[in-house]
Symmetry: C2
Subunit: 324 residues, 2 copies
């Protein structure tokens, strides 16, 4: 039997494709992710999932980028508030606003979520949606983090970027589902994560449409909070925006518990992933206590629920983009 | 000079591709649509628009499918209400609910939008989002229209289906932005229009997340209306869900005025389209008066604003799918 060169070439086994997750160490976490993706993309497997149902949702703060010493959106709001108060100090009508303008983080945190919302409300209101996005984008790509010296947009996690790309190559759609403000995340999501604005779900303020003085149709952020995309709000936000239950959900705190619970309770193959911040050297180490990114119930129940806990120190070979 | 057969083949001009809008007559409307699409997809033109910005939004009732003698969602709500009242007549706590259960359309319309919302509220509440979708899908594909005898899902407009496909082939994303309920439209959008649930924007009720009695994570439609995606609400809904201004908007009534206004006020090439119901023979004829799909200001201002008015009788060669 004679086999032509071309036919012989076809008989050579396909060379294993390049490692889709090069910044992940060769631990069980990486293997579990790849095994799941293989199982839902193999058209001959019982576990096959059609492309339209390959929906993967990601929390943002602490899951796709860092959140210490405080949520980046809060640091942005404080910067904006300082600027506004410099022009007109009378806007500082409460203790928490005064604390924010003075950069007093303890004074801010003492007021809890309500205080954060007040700061964000005052700093983010009375601006068009488009101007807000441009302003937030400029800050995220130029202001720098107090301890790493990186821009905030540079504090996204390289292993998670690779996971997003890998899932998209395997015909998943990738979504952000964050407690943070939707317009703030959208300002950077396409540049930072390759995620278009319509695949960002987040907390929302009120927006109104009107003609401005010169007759220009204008959408203005009016302030006020109309939807909080956290805890029980995350499945609600997903159903509002996506309209279909995901098969893959990643988070890092108990604010993501219900999102993982709802995602992994669906029929067929499902994946829940928790990023555990264990790396004080390269990033930060925190979990059960503190004011930011508390992970307590999730740690207790991940095993019995079959959720993967990613140990940042053990499972990630590098943390930041551009690192060796 | 010798030219190989393969090279010669490359020199043959590309055969003009098949007509992308075969159900549109060869009138100015069709030519204007094709000229616009050509202008934004030609990479060498000043008018080129990158794919991520090729966002096209469509009203649903009266634009993608029929809306006479009443919005299909109202006809569905009446059917559900009759069923529910058969089991428990005490749910008919108001005149408009009694009118609806009796099929008294005049009694319903006499109460205006508020009455419609009450009917929809009572008929659509206390059901999981998933069960609602399945129920609505079954109704849309089996119940039949009183005058055409078609299923409601069969009363989509063939020319608009072709327009949706054409735009998607040209790397637009296509969205529904409707005053109707988001969950109702999502129940059929993928089958009827090829539009996934996350590309449907609509009016919204309240939804809550909880564990049911047996511990199953459940999203339940609680009733109440949290957002009305009509008039000024349409640009707001677009910004909530899409986060970017469209370049193409199609509607049929003054409820779409602000959506077209906002879309076409953006920089660069823009397209506004109004479906004008002029065809009493094949569909229905109505515009400036009545309770459904009123088009008055839009007709007055379309010309000066550069919006295309599609005359159904003149510009469409056929109306329904499967027609000769
Ligand atoms: Ca988080
Ligand atoms: Ca309409």
């Amino acid at each position: 039997m004679r086999i032509s060169l071309a036919a012989a070439f076809l008989l050579v086994p396909v060379i294993a494709s390049a490692d889709p997750l090069p910044s992940w160490n060769d631990t069980g976490a990486k293997a579990a992710i790849i095994a799941f993706v293989d199982s839902v993309t193999d058209p001959d497997a019982d576990t096959y999932v059609p492309e339209a149902n390959r929906i993967a949702v990601f929390d943002n703060d602490g899951t796709l980028w860092a959140e210490q010493p405080a949520y980046f959106q809060l640091l942005y709001a404080i910067d904006v508030l300082k600027q506004k108060a410099g022009a007109d100090a009378s806007i500082l009508t409460s203790d928490v606003l005064k604390a924010a303008a003075a950069g007093d983080m303890q004074g801010i945190m003492a007021r809890g979520t309500e205080g954060l919302l007040e700061i964000i409300n005052v700093s983010h209101a009375a601006i068009t949606a488009e101007a807000f996005g441009a302003n937030a984008h400029a800050w995220l790509t130029t202001a720098t983090h107090p301890t790493t010296g990186r821009t905030y947009a540079g504090m996204i996690y390289q292993p998670m970027l690779e996971l997003l790309s890998y899932l998209r190559e395997e015909e998943f759609t990738t979504w952000i589902v964050s407690g943070g403000g939707i317009d703030f995340i959208r300002a950077i999501a396409e540049d930072a994560y390759g995620i278009p604005p319509w695949q960002v779900v987040g907390s929302q303020g009120n927006t109104s449409y009107a003609l401005s003085g010169d007759g220009t149709p204008t959408l203005t952020k009016d302030g006020g909070i109309s939807f909080i995309d956290d805890k029980e709000g995350k499945p609600v936000g997903i159903m509002r925006h996506i309209g279909r239950r995901p098969i893959f959900a990643a988070g890092n705190s108990d604010g993501d518990f219900q999102m993982l619970e709802w995602t992994t309770a669906g029929d067929g193959p499902r994946f829940g992933l928790i990023v555990h911040h264990t790396d004080a050297g390269r990033e930060f180490a925190y979990d059960r206590e503190g004011g930011i990114g508390v992970l307590d119930r999730g740690l207790d129940e991940a095993d019995e629920r079959g959720w993967l806990v990613v140990d940042m120190a053990r499972d990630w070979g590098r943390v930041w983009p551009g690192e060796e």
